[in-house]
Symmetry: D4
Subunit: 255 residues, 8 copies
């Protein structure tokens, strides 16, 4: 503890970093940022922008960069992205800010942040256009965990040929995340074609009875093949779970 306090007194670290080291998390007006959890499990703590004002999201992103060197923000609209960009420009002028509009994510890397790099590949697959946002969120998380991402898009079961065309890429991955809405048949079909673990990511499309991703989730739970699932639109969770498996594979390859 002394070390941290010395560093703070010497201005080498920010108060947020000091708080984070001492308590395991840093506090802002808008909530708490849990740096310890990120260190512990290797999964970046994502800041959910939905339900926060642009200012709140920006404050938490700044705190995240100050304490862990990085910020990952999800469900970001354009106004919030601009707010984050501005706040980071003030607080961390040398940081890089990447906004993926379709995935609705913003990733900030501090000047000295060294991104992790894993020897493992995660395929992120979509059935159609409507699945891309959620799949993009998953892909962003996988990348930040350090694994390679192989995007295979628009291979919905209504046109099997396109899926079969991509079989080699699907089979080359260590883990496969399959995002699909509507009737959600794609995760089952993919899991019947590859040997790697498949994680279903149901997407909230569709309407009427079984809409909003319910049919897709039920389909994953009832799949006649082997796969596990996350909740509807839980792109972050799917990406992070895939990342944990990729980390395990990478660690085994290292050994």
């Amino acid at each position: 503890m002394r070390e941290t306090l010395d560093a703070l007194a010497a201005g080498e670290i920010t108060p947020a970093e000091a708080e984070s080291r001492l308590k395991g998390y840093a506090t802002t007006e808008a909530g708490r940022f849990d740096a310890a959890r990120e260190r512990r499990r290797g999964i970046p703590e994502a800041i959910l922008a939905e339900g926060k004002t642009p200012a709140e999201a920006a404050a938490m992103a700044t705190t995240a960069v100050e304490t862990t060197g990085r910020a990952v923000v999800t469900r970001v609209d354009d106004e919030t992205a601009a707010g984050i960009r501005e706040a980071i420009a003030d607080a961390e002028p040398d940081a890089t800010v990447e906004h993926d509009e379709r995935a609705r994510t913003v990733v900030v890397h501090g000047d000295e942040f060294e991104p992790p790099s894993l020897d493992a590949t995660v395929a992120v697959v979509t059935a159609g256009t409507a699945d891309r946002a959620v799949a993009g969120e998953a892909a962003t998380i996988v990348r930040e965990i350090g694994a390679d991402v192989d995007r295979v898009d628009d291979v919905g079961v209504a046109s099997l040929l396109r899926l079969v065309d991509q079989l080699d890429r699907l089979r080359g991955a260590d883990v496969v995340v399959v995002a699909a809405g509507r009737e959600g048949a794609l995760p089952t079909v993919v899991a019947g074609l590859v040997d790697a673990p498949v994680i279903a990511l149901p997407v909230a499309s569709g309407y009427g009875v079984g809409g909003d991703g319910e049919a897709a989730l039920y389909g994953a739970l009832q799949s006649c093949t082997v796969l596990s699932t996350v909740n509807v639109d839980a792109g972050f969770v799917a990406g992070a779970q895939a990342g944990l498996i990729a980390r395990a594979v990478d660690a085994a390859r290292e050994s």
Copy 2:
């Protein structure tokens, strides 16, 4: 009306047949058998054995044969099948009785019954073993309506290859009924491969959340291809709807 009464007086027809001609349906202790509906729409009135005693089912089957020349009984267990066989042997010794144990159907044709014959084919497809009973019920109804049945079994999406192997048969049908439980992906995949109308027949397999056919039905309702559906385990309805389409095609071919 006079004609019917004359025939009854002359012993040429049974009282049940007379009642059926006059009122449009015949009554038994166990309920009412609706001969008029059968004549009107060309779909045999099925007798649902479930919830009836063997004696009640047998009585209704006998009445059906007496009034329309035929009886179709669904959801039949072995005891009920034996009861029907016995009752028919008494009342209509020259009738034929066929019991399909897997489909749980009994079909009785009176001595002089002339089965209809349509120039149309209905493919009845199953994903796996658990779907065969319900598919069998559908197939029985299709046959009784007079269409050819082409059974394509065990082509679930977990093994796409087997499905692709049967593509020519699927494409040769005028209508396709696809029975599938669990996640119910097969109707969607089939509808993406054929040009004919596809009717989804969700099957009550599976367990946990979305089980008992719910996921399969939701999948049909949310399908990203074009198809219509019937309720879970509604083999009779799926077969009859396919039969109505087959009749329309047959009539057009005739013309």
Copy 3:
């Protein structure tokens, strides 16, 4: 393939058409347009405007016309309709654009597009005023597939007389689509009166428990007559399924 590339090089076809021929679909910023599917099954690929900006919908409509000679857009509001009209006026000045405000559909036919024509009739029936939008979507699709549409409106079961008045028209159709919300009794009543296949189209009206079309869908699934159903408000699917049956009938008549 060479042929396509030659045509492109010669300026005879657009790049979108070339991509569509080579890959089976064309891509725009707003998503992918699946021309191959349209060619394969004879059902126009509909562009769902809901959830897209007017510009995105217009871009996809333009691509559709370029690759298949036609665009069918559903769930269109006035702003989007105007956007499409403008974009088409630029890109395809000789094309015709029809906007059905009640059905919320826009149909564009390129200059040289030859609409299909089937020798088959689909009756599209509504119970009340609230069902007309969804029924209109179904009717638009049926027309684009080439069948004749016979609209029978406002024949809800609360006034049986009006329904009975239209019996001849109902019985004259090869297929019947019945749109009804609230308690959804009409499809069952109609299926009891006609011989043709009936497709229920539940409509999201009503409020409280069972509202938003749930009661109507459940009613279709539990119908004591023979019919199949599509999901709530799935006007496109109902129309397309009716169109597939009409195509089968037409083909049989041709033969």
Copy 4:
């Protein structure tokens, strides 16, 4: 109170009758029988046999006859009916016992019981065979309240003609109870044809999604005509509510 105690001491009334007069209800091992409620609202307190042993049901029936001169038992199987018959033969040898097997009701009238008689008619309507048990329970209650019952059976909407044939009888009733399972369209159709108040009585038939009467109840709640409903299989409640209306009409006629 003194009067009751004198009567008890003189053996003119049973202890159960005395308890009933003093406390408003009588107690047995199997539960409490609420005589006061019966006196207050004119609706016989029904004893629900389901979930009770034959001995318990018989004991309560005996108590009911002792305190109110009558017992109405619902959901009775054959064994329980026999048990009641035996117990009543012992305790009230001059009482009459009627067991309606289809309605699953047992009605006991003590020797001196004078059944009420109302100048009002309740039509009890069924769609099909499966609705008769529940409708029978309703009819039993209506009769015990004293109104005339007019049973109109097997007029389901799949065969409108039969319904139309019975229009005069339906229009002759002061109240109409309509029992229907499956899609439950009949209450709506009837309410569109008559002027009297209609009470829907959904029946737990059907299977799959919306089965067990759910679709029928939702249909009643969403009806596009005016009617009120009771819960699925609530034959007693429907009959009693109809009886309350009949009592109001009868009282008005008397005045």
Copy 5:
């Protein structure tokens, strides 16, 4: 028919009135107004303003006054009320327009309209402030049917004393409508206190699981007393059903 056409030709009736007499209903751009139904069952056809533009609602109200002498509009906001007032001032300057803001209803009586008057009383009861709008809609309909309305407000079960204070008024009514949201206990408690038929009117208040009136509706369906129910917020239906009973009582009193 000739008579109607003569009257139209002579300018004695409007085209809408003529259409209404000939077809049983009149049509406007916004939908169909069913005058025949009103005449048949004595219940005014209500125009549901929700989902219509002010202009559409006003047009239908005008048509209603022209064909039946009266318009009843429900779920009216202030803008729509103003629109109706204006349209009626133009078309029917001598008509009276009453807007009940809390009940969200507008009632228009044409110059020569003679409101019905029944010798019967309907009590309309509310548990709390949140139930008044829906109860008001019911009360408006009852009044238009011609029965007396006795409003008993704010007698929720959390303060039994207030309920007991109003017992005489409750017992003086021929029918009782009880509007209650949240846990919906009031209809059951009232039905235990009165002899007249009780109609539960669940109200969409509350939040969390069972909110939006679901708990209140379930409570009515499961009530341990005798009552029937309508759907959540179905003020019109509850009022109309109460009105039908009041009409029956009035007719009996007349006789």
Copy 6:
């Protein structure tokens, strides 16, 4: 730990007691009995007999008596009760065994067990006969925790008078548990009449939509008064929560 092992070696304690002291719980073939939890929170660990064979339940009961001096078994049928009685007679001949048939509980007190005694009263209230089993389970637990139980039975809201008669008893309790099924209105009415905390205990009675206690639970969650609830039929939890409050009150009185 040494002390325990010495006692075991000296035969002063059983192996189960020793295991329980060392690990905090004792193991049997049928499962684990958690003695430590009982000591920690003062709530007896109940053994749920449902789903266990009589022999398994008896073995766990014996272990419970050996380690804590007491066993409380819930959801006991007669065969299991006999099995427990026999096993206890063998293992702990001086223990007392009480079987409450209606509450379906068995309570065993070892020879030297000193039951706790609290200066606090819990009222356990039922609406009707069907609620007594679940209420009895709650009462058993309250008694074993040491509080006085005041049972107030058959005060359902359909007869308010009986409830009002018991007001003094209800108001004399420190905590009130209210068991009610069907529409579950009683907890709300009671909570409007007393000052003590009320715990709703929904009971799985009723049928149709909202049956099996769902309406009663929703009613508790939506109550317009202040109360908390437990799950349907959770008699043990309601009793134990009431017991925890009684313990807090008793401790405060002691201080």
Copy 7:
């Protein structure tokens, strides 16, 4: 009554106070304020601002202060808070107004209001940032009832260490309210660690299936420890129930 009227005539009390004394509640345009209930059970009547205009909420708050010396308003947005502040400044210039923005509550104390003070502590615990608003509402109510509040924030189960750190505070409370959304595991974990009664307060966070607090509520109902629950987001109810227990403990301590 005379006394009240004299005081009113003498201008010593307001008409609202007089009405409140005579009828038990005061009426405003926006609804009724139930002063009697507050006096009876010691729980302040909260005014739910949601669904009211700022003017309506302000009027009711003013009435509350006039009749009970205090107003507690929940679900307040900034505009409403300002409206209340202004109205109170006019009507009760010496009153204090406290607006807790996070908890969305406004509390007004009249000049002479003497807040109650109990010798009892309620711990109010949150799992994360998203639970603070609802927990704050509970804490406000507890404070107004007079108990001490101990807030323990951000101790969600994903980081057990932080929870364990706060064990002494949790164990020091007489009652514990645990607010948690998402999977809602915290109430169960806390109830396994403390001896005091625990009240679960599920929070409407989360998305997809089980979102909006449903999973958290189900988790509380299914908890393997002893606790009772309130509905999702029912901060007021949880606080008031905790307050009732605190009052019981305080009263016992006093005695």
Copy 8:
């Protein structure tokens, strides 16, 4: 193909093995056994005994041993286990048969079957006794895939201490399967403590609302930590998914 036919002709392989090599699966009366799938993905094809007669299960087990050298049967009761044992004794006298009664699995290894062996460990964790059957099924599958299984039992969240005691074992695993019913809090707590991927396995315990595993599944879907889930009671799927991850880790370690 020739090779297979030669071997069959020479009696070196059974017809089932031949069919399996040629078609990818073998057929029996009771259904189809999919040997190819087992070879492809390394997961043994499990035979679900539930819903099959002992004879059918035994026939399929025999076929499985003949074609793949192994049979894994799940949901086995004692009678079926005996049937399998007998059938195998006849057909494959040198095979070993292991029946895990608690896990309800039977595993048969043919004489020459060489079980796979992976350098990877899967922890299988249970919250309580009721979770052991489902966890046992998962453990059996993991073992058959070749990974080491570390069982950590009875560490439910109601007693955190026991969980913390096992932390080293949990952290030593490459994958963790956590089986929990009731409120299902354990997977979330475990995932907060370990770095490896966690798979939730909800168990169908509990009663009332959210029972039968629904609350546990919702809790997994809503978890505030990172994990994926399988359906309720899907022990096979959880074990197989864990096995796929273990295979990936093992393969990486090998490389």
